[in-house]
């Protein structure tokens, strides 16, 4: 499935899932804006991999907790590529404070994970309206449903994203914009990135899966499919939702967890 001619913006694309998504979109011929905040080196790596895949991308730095920064980022993407067809909201914080966040930590998480998603949506809508179509894909988490037991406010933000997705879907449908969410379970992204986001970079998948199996012979009792998730798993679903084959799907949340939520 090709995404030739499409223009995508992926936030949090310097690490982990966002990196995997950006590279896969580019491999399928979309032009990709790699948005990052803390992860300069990660964003450069994303671009390197995009080029390696024969794709076209550019990096743009923005703190998605800041509306002005978001607007400047979106303008930069539109100036460079001539529009935006696909927004992948992915940049998120997880502070692992469980039930003990102070008031500032609460604000910090909500401002990125929920307000940031909304404000990125708001900023791209004018460009999508102009084309009469658009795809917005919110990367949420199985923790929009299941408690984390490690970060209460992170889970709250994901519960909020579920409803942001549904509300956006009904509001933006008249412009030909669909809004859907993906709820990944545990995704192994290595150890690269900032301390706060604990993201990962996918090294050798097969090897990693094999290692995990050796370390944990019971893996199928955590993940019926026999392994944890990879950024590539999320990326291929993003590409499908971003394609022209999903006009009738909006407001949906797709659990992508190797069946782990069922156990």
């Amino acid at each position: 499935m090709t995404l030739e001619g499409k223009i995508a913006l992926v936030t949090g694309a310097g690490t982990g899932i966002g990196q995997g998504v950006a590279v896969e979109l580019a491999r399928r011929k979309a032009r990709v804006a790699v948005s990052y905040n803390a992860s300069d080196a990660g964003a450069r790596e994303t671009l390197r991999r995009i080029e390696e895949a024969g794709g076209e991308g550019f990096a743009v730095r923005a703190n998605v907790a800041d509306r002005d920064a978001i607007r400047a980022m979106v303008r930069a993407v539109a100036d460079r590529f001539g529009g935006i067809d696909i927004l992948v909201n992915n940049a998120a914080l997880q502070l692992n404070f469980n039930f003990e966040h102070d008031d500032d930590a609460y604000d910090r998480i909500m401002n990125v994970n929920l307000k940031g998603y909304w404000q990125c949506i708001q900023a791209v809508v004018p460009y999508m309206k102009r084309h009469g179509r658009g795809r917005i894909i919110n990367i949420s988490s199985v923790h929009g449903k299941r408690p984390t037991d490690f970060d209460t406010v992170y889970a709250m933000s994901k519960g909020g994203i579920k409803m942001l997705t549904r509300e956006s879907a009904i509001e933006l449908a008249k412009y030909g914009i669909t809004v859907n969410a993906i709820e990944p379970g545990a995704v192994d992204v290595g150890r690269q990135g900032t301390k706060e986001t604990k993201p990962f970079v996918p090294p050798e998948y097969a090897e990693q899966a094999e290692r995990m199996r050796r370390r944990n012979p019971d893996i199928r009792r955590k993940f019926p499919v026999g392994r944890s998730g990879r950024p590539a798993d999320v990326a291929s679903l993003v590409c499908y939702i971003a394609s022209d084959e999903t006009d009738f799907m909006t407001g949906a949340a797709i659990r992508l967890d190797g069946g782990s939520m069922l156990l």
Binding site: H101, Q122, G144, D149, A155, G159
Partner: protein, 268 residues
């Protein structure tokens, strides 16, 4: 008297739901710590009634998004009423805000009122309950819009979606200390058709008749459920989000509504 000897903290007692809650729980012998933005003046009548029923009542005005203020209030209240056994977080701010044109200030106001305050109150109450090791209950008064979009305030439904996860999270963390946590996804009641008026959704068109019985619930129904959750009968309930809507959300569009014949329906 199902709640004698118990102290119950109810936030936003000035609201219609707050009034129903305070009256019902006072009648069951609870001592009440009441959050009131009006400093008690909007609930003078209800306070008098609660006191006539024998309830000890303390009224406080705090910003329940600020942990320090809430902590101070709880410390002071404890001197008078004893420690809080039950928190009923009851804050329901609805402001229209669209995804496309919404202002950040409205988003923050709605999210803080409904979700941040829920977190702050639960954290502070939970910390004290945990320290006492005597169990406890936390009830979030939430909304059917934790699941169903409003079509007029994405911030409202996002705040309720956040509260749903807060309740689940707290049930796991605090549940280890014998504390039960619930959210009540309530609605619709009289007046909600105006409150949730939407150009996008027909959810509230003839909404009374989308309740299968065609009888709307009231805040007294909410108070009855809160009373149950605060009491011993709810011992094995934890982390549950209880949809209390008379079956409203199970209707599909306007299919088979129980319309009275004079409105043009076939009576169901």
């Amino acid at each position: 008297m199902k709640l004698s000897g118990k102290t119950v903290w109810i936030t936003d007692a000035d609201s219609r739901s707050g009034k129903a809650l305070l009256l019902r729980l006072a009648a069951e012998g609870a001592a009440l710590l009441l959050g009131s933005d009006s400093g008690g003046s909007d609930i003078a009548q209800e306070l008098a009634q609660a006191r006539r029923a024998g309830a000890r009542v303390r009224v406080c005005t705090v910003d329940d998004c600020r942990s320090a203020e809430v902590a101070r209030m709880l410390d002071e209240a404890e001197q008078e009423l004893g420690p809080v056994d039950v928190l009923i977080h009851n804050r329901n701010l609805v402001r229209p805000i669209s995804v496309e044109h919404g202002e950040e200030e409205v988003f923050r106001e709605v999210m803080n009122a409904n979700a941040k305050s829920a977190f702050v109150c639960a954290k502070e109450a939970g910390r004290r309950m945990t320290a006492r090791q005597a169990g406890g209950r936390i009830v979030f008064v939430s909304s059917i819009h934790a699941e169903k979009p409003t079509g007029m305030s994405f911030a409202y439904s996002a705040s309720k979606g956040a509260v749903k996860m807060l309740a689940r999270e707290a049930s796991v963390v605090l549940g280890r200390h014998g504390i039960g946590v619930y959210s009540i996804e309530f609605g619709p009641v009289e007046g909600d058709g105006d409150l949730f008026r939407s150009d996008l959704s027909k959810l509230y068109d003839l909404y009374r008749y989308k309740v299968p019985s065609a009888v709307l619930g009231t805040y007294d129904d909410l108070a009855e459920l809160a009373l149950f959750l605060a009491g011993d009968g709810a011992r094995y309930l934890n982390g549950a989000d209880i949809r209390m809507d008379g079956g409203f959300l199970l209707h599909y569009l306007d299919f088979k509504m129980k319309l009275p014949t004079e409105t043009g329906g076939d009576g169901g």
